[in-house]
Every structure is written in structure tokens, then in C-alpha cells.
């Protein structure tokens, strides 16, 4: 990422993260859907990685996780560790596969939610919460993933709208877009 685009992108990412975190803890955490709450922060981190790459995803995940841990007086480092890995993984997915399907954000959102919920549960067990894996817990995790799937596409649209203007042009996407608009070949090649 060029230095000129890093500043505006960081600003936009920071503002988006603040809005999403406050909306998550102020509204979404208090409105259960099917008995569970959506995790917009995990989705936002995942989509930041998917749009901007692994390094931005990891840094964004760490910062958002640390903010949540500090603001909610939770175990420091727990959410930041999970969100760092989620952001990094989604960024690597973009760098290695660059998926373009319409359902990609949905699948990435579902996977990131599952990763974050299972990771959080595992970490809680490791840190001494006395609860074995039960049907109830699995139900909560599965429902959490389903609810996040509902919010995945709107969250993707919001994240993309907020970040796209500050993102550097990706040569691979530019080539693909040109090939698409010219029917697969450039006019020069046809000639």
C-alpha cells in the first residue's frame, strides 16, 4: 500500500471502527435476534481484511479488539488476539484467491463469525470458565453464525462504501474490469 493512501485509509478505518463498536455495544448487544446477538465488529474486521489485505486486517482487528477489551473491562488481549487472526485470515484470502463471487462477502462473514465465536469459546474454556461443550453452547454458536450471515451483506456494503474511496487501485482488479467490459480481449488484441 502506498504511503499516500495509508493516511486517508487509516482515518476512514478508524472512524468506521468507532461507529461500529459504539453501535455494537449500544444497540446490537441489547437486541437479541433468535436469542443471540449479531457481532458486527467481527464482520467489520473481516471485511476490512477482505478489502484492504492481511496487514490492514490484522492491525484493524487488533485495534478493534483492544478497544472492546478496554471499554468493556474484559480480559485484555482476548478479543484482540481473535480479531487479529480473523482480519489476517480474511486479508490472506483476498491476496491468495481474490474471490469475486457475489456470495463471497456472505461466505467470508459466516466463516469469520464462526472463527470468532469458536475461538472465543475455546479461549474462555482455556481461561477457566467451567462449562463443557454442550448442545446449548453449540446452538448459541450456530445461531450466532446464522444471525451474522443476515447482517453480512449490509455490513459488507457499509464497509466497502466507507473504505473504497481511500483504497489504492488494485492492478489485478483493473485488468479484470477492463477484460470484462471489452468482452474478454482488448480491441488491440482483436485487431
Amino acid at each position: 500500500m502506498s504511503g499516500s493512501s495509508a493516511g486517508p485509509l487509516a482515518l476512514r478505518l478508524g472512524a468506521l471502527a468507532l461507529v461500529v463498536v459504539f453501535f455494537q455495544i449500544g444497540v446490537v448487544s441489547e437486541v437479541p435476534v433468535f436469542g443471540v446477538n449479531a457481532e458486527l465488529c467481527a464482520l467489520m474486521v473481516a471485511f476490512s481484511g477482505l478489502l484492504c489485505g492481511s496487514m490492514v486486517g490484522a492491525v484493524c482487528g487488533f485495534a478493534v479488539g483492544l478497544f472492546i477489551d478496554l471499554a468493556l473491562l474484559q480480559t485484555l488481549g482476548l478479543t484482540s488476539l481473535i480479531f487479529t487472526l480473523v482480519g489476517y485470515w480474511c486479508g490472506r484470502l483476498r491476496e491468495l484467491r481474490d474471490p469475486q463471487g457475489a456470495l463471497t462477502p456472505l461466505l467470508v462473514g459466516v466463516s469469520a463469525s464462526a472463527l470468532s465465536l469458536i475461538g472465543y469459546s475455546l479461549m474462555e474454556f482455556m481461561l477457566g470458565v467451567d462449562s463443557p461443550v454442550s448442545f446449548q453452547l453449540l446452538r448459541v454458536i450456530v445461531l450466532g453464525v446464522v444471525v451474522n450471515a443476515i447482517f453480512a451483506l449490509p455490513m459488507w456494503a457499509l464497509t466497502r462504501r466507507a473504505l473504497e474511496a481511500a483504497m489504492p487501485e488494485d492492478p489485478r482488479r483493473r485488468r479484470r474490469r477492463r477484460a470484462y467490459t471489452t468482452g474478454g480481449l482488448s480491441p488491440l488484441t482483436k485487431a
Binding site: 449500544g26 444497540v27 437486541v31 457481532e39 492491525v59 478496554l70 478479543t79 489476517y88 469459546s121
Partner: protein, 316 residues
């Protein structure tokens, strides 16, 4: 160029993971008065006005979403509520008679029971909720500056909600009843048998009243209330008679009878709560000073179990 990018990417990931693990280890290992906890409290002091403002600004949005859910549930709850009102009316008449007799006996025996009236209730607004799957803590907008201290009981209009786990100057962390470190000595309705209410293992939304004597009577639908102090050497954090939940089923398979309890307070929808604060020298304040010498598995000594649960510090 490519190698440099790859190396930088891996270095950033490693740095962030190591930093997270260091924070996790240091935070989990330190005492509640440690440096990281202090930083967290200072951070809360800084952001709590923002959170409070955001919470108030977003309340209409929250209410709108809640309205849809509540409307769907209201009809199904109406018939149940009418039936319950009938039953409660009958129980109220019996309870009023019981209360009169209780006060007479109390005056006769000169018992020094600390009831809710002896506490100074402080109303607080829930400004943050734990957004993860466990839903076991909330943050309120009142802290040490309002007289809120660690271990103070927290209630709402429905019943017992939890206790204060950490207090900052302008905010406090409340551990809900469903938090794994919670334990409350309790009894069923009019029964004298006491047990320990703890979160149900594997079900973060339900409670289990354990360590009840095998001959204790328990029927589904009966209410579970705090028992208060049973033995003076193990004073309870919670005043007697606070409503905790309703018996849903009874498990008689183990040596001690245990009862499944559904909390009456809707822990997913907390808005305004009351912290029962008490001055220095109170039970809550004194318990903070207790050494954590109690060992697990002390059997049915319920207040000991409550102390053990309250002195254990499970992070988060």
C-alpha cells in the same frame, strides 16, 4: 520487493499475536488492583461519557428494534401473566400474614438481619453490554464516586441481577448471575433449606440451585430467593429475600438435590439497575478484605461457596 512485503506482513502478524498473548498473560495473572486493570479503569473513565452519550442517542434505535420483538412476545405472555397474577394475589395475602409474623419474631429474637432497607440503593444505567456469546457482564455509569464498591449487590425491578466486580471512579463492571464466577446462597420460597445458585454448566442462560439437602421440597414454578447470611462466620453479600428466579425442574440424581432455575430478571435487556451500596464496615466491604483461603468442595456450606465464588477472579 516481494520478499520484503512477505517478511513485513509476517512480522506484523507475529508482533500483534505476541502482543495479544503478552497482554492476556499479564492481565490474567495480575491482581484486580494491578497496572493493566488500572489502565482499563482509566480508559473506562475517559470513554464512559462518550458511551453514555452514544447509549442515550441510540436508545430510540434500540427501542424500535426491541418493539418488534416485544410485540411478538406480548400476546403469548398475556395469558400466562393473567394466570400468574391470580396465583400471586393469593400468595400475597399469605405473604403479608407471614411478614407480620416474621417481624414479630425478629423483634423478639433481636436478630441483626441486614435487609434491603439498610443498603443505600444507587440507580445506574447500563452503558455497555458484553457483546460476546457469554453475556455475563455489563458496564454501568456509576462508580466509586457514587459510593459503588466491589461486591455490592446489583438488582433491577425484577430481582437480583449480579454484583459489582470492578469499580472505576465513573463506572463499574457488573458480573451477572450467569457469570461463571458467581455464586449466591439461596432458598426456595418458604423452605428453610438453603443451597448455592450458580450458572448452569453448559447453559449460559440458566441457573442451578445446588447443594440442597436431599429432603428439601422443590416444585416447578416456586420462586428462589436469596437466603442472606445463614452462619455468621460466612456472611452473605446479598440481603435476604431478593428474588433470583423460578424453579423449572428438579434433579434428584446426585447426592445433593439440585434444582434448575430460570432467572426472573431479563439479563439480556438490562437498562436501569440499582446498586445496593453500603458503607465501610458492611459485609460487602468486609468480604473484599477476606483472604482467599477457602477451598473448593466444602460441601453444602452454602455461604462458604458464595464467598469462594466471590473471591475467585476469573478474568473478563
Amino acid at each position: 520487493m516481494y520478499d520484503k512485503t512477505v517478511r513485513r506482513r509476517r512480522a506484523v502478524l507475529a508482533l500483534l499475536v505476541v502482543l495479544s498473548l503478552l497482554l492476556l498473560t499479564a492481565y490474567f495473572g495480575e491482581a484486580p488492583g494491578g497496572r493493566l486493570h488500572a489502565i482499563q479503569r482509566d480508559f473506562l473513565t475517559v470513554v464512559s461519557p462518550i458511551q453514555d452519550g452514544a447509549n442515550k442517542a441510540l436508545k430510540p434505535v434500540r427501542d424500535l428494534f426491541s418493539w418488534f420483538g416485544n410485540t411478538l412476545h406480548a400476546k403469548s405472555q398475556l395469558a400466562q401473566a393473567l394466570k400468574q397474577t391470580e396465583r400471586l394475589r393469593r400468595e400475597l395475602a399469605a405473604a403479608q400474614e407471614g411478614k407480620r409474623a416474621y417481624h414479630e419474631l425478629l423483634a423478639l429474637s433481636h436478630l441483626d438481619q441486614l435487609g434491603v432497607d439498610s443498603y443505600r440503593p444507587v440507580a445506574a444505567t447500563v452503558i455497555d453490554k458484553d457483546p460476546n456469546v457469554w453475556y455475563s457482564t455489563v458496564v454501568i455509569d456509576k462508580g466509586e464516586s457514587s459510593g459503588v464498591h466491589r461486591n455490592d449487590p446489583v438488582i433491577n425491578e425484577e430481582g437480583l441481577v449480579g454484583k459489582v466486580a470492578q469499580a472505576a471512579p465513573d463506572g463499574a463492571l457488573v458480573e451477572l448471575l450467569t457469570n461463571s464466577s458467581m455464586g449466591v446462597s439461596a432458598r426456595i420460597g418458604t423452605s428453610h433449606a438453603t443451597g448455592l445458585v450458580q450458572p448452569k454448566v453448559g447453559d449460559p442462560n440458566d441457573l442451578l440451585l445446588g447443594y440442597l439437602p436431599s429432603n428439601a421440597q422443590a416444585n416447578p414454578g416456586e420462586y428462589v430467593v436469596t437466603s442472606g447470611t445463614v452462619t455468621p462466620q460466612y456472611p452473605s453479600l446479598f440481603p435476604p429475600g431478593l428474588l433470583i428466579g423460578q424453579v423449572t425442574s428438579v434433579d434428584e440424581e446426585s447426592a445433593y438435590k439440585s434444582v434448575n432455575v430460570h432467572p426472573v430478571a431479563n439479563l439480556h435487556d438490562l437498562d436501569i439497575v440499582q446498586v445496593l451500596t453500603a458503607g465501610a464496615g458492611s459485609r460487602a466491604a468486609n468480604l473484599d478484605q477476606l483472604p482467599a483461603t477457602l477451598q473448593a468442595g466444602q460441601g453444602p456450606s452454602t455461604n462458604g461457596g458464595e464467598q469462594l465464588a466471590s473471591t475467585q477472579q476469573v478474568g473478563g
